[in-house]
Amino acid sequence: ELKVEQNPLFLSMQEGKNYTIYCNYSTTSDRLYWYRQDPGKSLESLFVLLSNGAVKQEGRLMASLDTKARLSTLHITAAVHDLSATYFCAVKSWTTNAGKSTFGDGTTLTVKP
């Protein structure tokens, strides 16, 4: 069974600081996704990472994938209040999970002035 673990689950940080959210998974992956969810809202796709070593950046967020370590990171640079949200990673695996996406439990980020 594919398991996806995120840490930390809660993160409070000051504006202007940098931090990294980690997403570990238990079996081989074919694709890894990062989503953002604002309170009371639905999920918004941020990044899709397709292969080992993939790196994608959008604004202050950068996601990377290490398939050998079964690890993805979401790095936040110089955080601003607007980044406050819950961030989910999801792993899709055809070989071990019939192509379903399994989500982590999310990291709730609060950026304080």
Partner: protein, 116 residues
């Protein structure tokens, strides 16, 4: 481009009652997903359709949950009878395909179900 539409947005029912949710995916999206998101957790896939056929329903509690996608467009998810543990947000998502580089999922606003 219109997004994924869901209704109702909120529903409160008593246990053992029935409830149905409706989803209209993005036009042209062949794949439709229903997820259950319990407070404080990530979404869990209940069922995935490719056009009007079921691709995966391994995590759907079939004794009480049912879903259909008529004509490969709109979909309904039904719970009958509801239990307290069914209280959650039910998310519908769609993607152009279920595989390949066009499988990015677009989520609807969700239906928040409270079972009393």
């Amino acid at each position: 481009e219109a997004g994924v539409a869901q209704s109702p947005r909120y529903k409160i029912i008593e246990k053992r009652q029935s409830v149905a949710f409706w989803c209209n995916p993005i036009s042209g999206h062949a794949t439709l997903y229903w997820y259950q998101q319990i407070l404080g957790q990530g979404p869990k896939l209940l069922i995935q359709f490719q056009n009007n056929g079921v691709v995966d329903d391994s995590q759907l509690p079939k004794d009480r949950f049912s879903a259909e996608r008529l004509k490969g467009v709109d979909s309904t998810l039904k719970i009958q009878p509801a239990k307290l543990e069914d209280s959650a947000v039910y998310l519908c998502a769609s993607s152009f395909t279920g595989t390949g580089t066009t499988d990015t999922q677009y989520f609807g606003p969700g239906t928040r179900l409270t079972v009393l």
